[in-house]
Symmetry: D2
Subunit: 315 residues, 4 copies
Amino acid sequence: MSSDHAASGSGPRYGFLGPAGTFTEAALLQWLGDRPAEVVPYTTVDTAVDAVRGGEVIAAMVPLENSVEGSVTATIDALAGGPGLAIIAEAQVPVSFSLVARPGSTLEQVRGVTTHPHAHAQCRRWLAERLPDVPVTFAPSTAMAASMVAEGGHDAAISAPLAAAVYGLDQLASDIGDRPAETRFVLISTPQAPQPATGADKTSLVLFMGQDHPGALLEILTEFAVRGVNLTRIESRPTGGGIGDYFFSVDVEGHLDDARVGEALMGLRRVCAEVRYVGSYQRLDGQQPVIRRGVTDEEFREAQAWLARIREGRS
Amino acid sequence: MSSDHAASGSGPRYGFLGPAGTFTEAALLQWLGDRPAEVVPYTTVDTAVDAVRGGEVIAAMVPLENSVEGSVTATIDALAGGPGLAIIAEAQVPVSFSLVARPGSTLEQVRGVTTHPHAHAQCRRWLAERLPDVPVTFAPSTAMAASMVAEGGHDAAISAPLAAAVYGLDQLASDIGDRPAETRFVLISTPQAPQPATGADKTSLVLFMGQDHPGALLEILTEFAVRGVNLTRIESRPTGGGIGDYFFSVDVEGHLDDARVGEALMGLRRVCAEVRYVGSYQRLDGQQPVIRRGVTDEEFREAQAWLARIREGRS
Amino acid sequence: MSSDHAASGSGPRYGFLGPAGTFTEAALLQWLGDRPAEVVPYTTVDTAVDAVRGGEVIAAMVPLENSVEGSVTATIDALAGGPGLAIIAEAQVPVSFSLVARPGSTLEQVRGVTTHPHAHAQCRRWLAERLPDVPVTFAPSTAMAASMVAEGGHDAAISAPLAAAVYGLDQLASDIGDRPAETRFVLISTPQAPQPATGADKTSLVLFMGQDHPGALLEILTEFAVRGVNLTRIESRPTGGGIGDYFFSVDVEGHLDDARVGEALMGLRRVCAEVRYVGSYQRLDGQQPVIRRGVTDEEFREAQAWLARIREGRS
Amino acid sequence: MSSDHAASGSGPRYGFLGPAGTFTEAALLQWLGDRPAEVVPYTTVDTAVDAVRGGEVIAAMVPLENSVEGSVTATIDALAGGPGLAIIAEAQVPVSFSLVARPGSTLEQVRGVTTHPHAHAQCRRWLAERLPDVPVTFAPSTAMAASMVAEGGHDAAISAPLAAAVYGLDQLASDIGDRPAETRFVLISTPQAPQPATGADKTSLVLFMGQDHPGALLEILTEFAVRGVNLTRIESRPTGGGIGDYFFSVDVEGHLDDARVGEALMGLRRVCAEVRYVGSYQRLDGQQPVIRRGVTDEEFREAQAWLARIREGRS
């Protein structure tokens, strides 16, 4: 979908799930901060990921949890299939909806609204109170809804606040969602050595089971639990290889270089049909894991030295 | 979104994630078979579910796994939040894509294609080979894409075969997806006693954890495993109550009336913050579970009789 | 071995591992307190147990843990094999050794000591310091050693303090063990309904595995753990049916009438080749179990009521 | 108890639980085969173990399971306490009882029998049938009973067949036990590097728990289970440090040099208060463990190489 690309800025190129003005772009811009960069929108998660794999961009921001735009399962499936990828950062932006319209418009003039169905679902209470009789038309994304308004297609759109700036629109109302929400995004690159450990990291994995095997998940979780590695997210997904054939997409606390994470991964490598390491990266919330007795790096080292001693008869 | 409803047929009313011509409608029609029914499309999973809760329809078909239309997480979240719901059946249709166009069109005449981004992603190889230079525009669903073609908006749409019939279009090409896929749908009603056990059943549950509690998932899986209850699907989802607060959406083999499922549910009830039972229903694949030694209904009965005997001193 | 019996007192007859003056007798007398009773010594655990089974005595006190007299494994095997038995109480006495001699003797006059080998092993330090050159001869029990001294066979015996009184001897030294120790005894009867629950109880079980089955023990412990039932003792013992065929003798916290214990027992009944319930009885230390969230009787009742409701469609 | 020692043969000195003629001596002689050796009886397990620690003998044979002589718990406690020890071999002899008497005696002349209480318990049926009215007196061991007969103290003894040869007695009847039995013995030395792996090995461990900790045993077993290490024996024993403070004496399949055993031991080292390795040695039954998928040395190596690769960014 190269025709959809709109480059902005200069510096290394980063992709995101577009069009311009999505929450995903907001997440990317937040992560970039002052870094010089050119940002490139992609129409779907798959095209963004392809751009990473093809070297068009050095990384791409896509949604991973609780998305109101695009499909989270597209991200999960992209990480699980095809050539390897690595998550190098996570990002989170408040999903705050605004009603945006062409400059000079007022709320009273709005006779038609467009937005993505998920955004609509999350603003129903506000719409029922403030625009009860106004028909709603759906667009493929909130950003596309805003762009359609900019082009004169509807009176107003529900979108991210960023979309107002991107498309030269006014915000007639802001924060119109029924309840606060957050979406989690990840910045994806080609495989690389893990980011340096910070003490507050996550590691993402894709675990493929062998033959249909009822106790498989319990077995997997026990591999983590025995090494004191906590999960923060898990999803089972069909492999596409037929019903009943599943993989698990999981995030765990800790870094690939942590001894407990390393031993758990080796255990999984031995019992799973395939283990795909998809990156260790700093947690956005900076929350350091509570590491239980027995699984610190120091305790792993000490136990290894002890084993070496008794194997040599020096207990 | 009552303005979107299009009723068809007569008999009890059933909703589905529309518009007309979606795979979801195909799944509903397949499930209905000869049952007299009126089917009603809804624009989003949320509006379909609201129609069930409000009594507008007696049940609604929505996607639960691997969807190419609508959001599966919308279904999972709808089952987890708000007033209770029950899954009363599952359905599965092959996700087969066709290129549909107005009658009399030929492939050579196609100079623009519209479809849902997921469908586009799944037909990329075919498009690259057969329509390499034709621009693709996105629509909110494959059915909406077909309807736009019917109204003259684009030359062709990628959609379910059903959409051709619904919108009076021709199929210029069929089965154009890059690989076979299936989507799983569920028929949702208001809470009710479980469907009668058939010997090949599934039970769906939503499990809310208490405070952030690292070993929670292992604990839950052990409650199932000890009673020989196998999981067929699991997903963790944020509750919306803040980061780190999760629930699990799970499907297990077996029926609420099975002794092993009952005991597992009581165990979960005691350790989870909340357990929501969302229905026991026949498995579409008719696959009977392999029940391990020790967890048949007969063995549960025998053990209960034995416990009663020893409690009375008659060992 | 009926010829060994020596009756004392009047009232119901109780057996114990004799001869008169053992720590086991001390444990029985402590348990009896003011109860009228006739106590009868038996030469071995097996003969004591046979006397219970044959109705010669209504119960018998035998050692179960850390014994310095008789064999603990004899007790464990007796509970596991033959007609059923029930533990109705536990008892514990400090294992305090005295050097006993005929009245009027002094330590200086002692030129030969007799005792049971275990008692000898526990008093070695004292003997090395105070009677370094005095030869030690072994007797089948500390009480028999004392009786041999009373009959003039040796100058002194190491025995329980009680043996001095029983055999009319003086204590030349008391508390001569190298370190403090305790032995646990159990009072065994024919099978009967459990003792009333006191809130601080133990339950004893014998668990037979099926075919040699490596994960069996983990499976068993998980049955307990899922219901929050803690073990206080476990031993694997060969069944005598050939190498590799084991049973487990276990004590757990809680009472047969506790819901969590009952459900754990039913689970074990279903997975073990055989479960033998051997009694619920008050803990001597009065220590109430810490019952984790989710396994109180009240929580079991509530979960059962909830299950009944959802099975009837009243969630 | 050096006064009890009786040396025989020449070569390195080996101790055993005596006196001469015990099943333990039979086990030692069987293990020695043609090795030149001097064998030395010790009165108790503790004195035999002290002789090992003090360098009086290079190793000592003592009972570990299902003993009819001496105390198995003495062996278990000796391995758990005091300076370290190592099991370097296991041995097993059929526990076959004979009625032994001075040369020229006949069964009809027997008017008194002596033996150890356990041996008596195991020959009761035979005694009831063949010597119903003959009184039985107890001796500290079956071998001591035979020696008392040799010295003219009783008419006959029940003992191991070996004792007849040792004390110059005749066997009036052999194999008089009520049912076949086996006892397991272990040869104990000072700590040393493990015996070379044979592919059919056992490893013995002593595991000390920390504070009273209900789930400790489950935790320990999970450390083994996750690495596919099977237990063949387990016993909980009080540490002597007060009620409720336990250690576990366990035997597992496999050798200290096996990767799966090594990783399990490191895991235990990290979660237990103390882990005492007590030796890896060939299984007497030559039974090779069934090693489940994922825990062979080769799989451990491969997983380690894989981890190294992904840590360097070469997945």
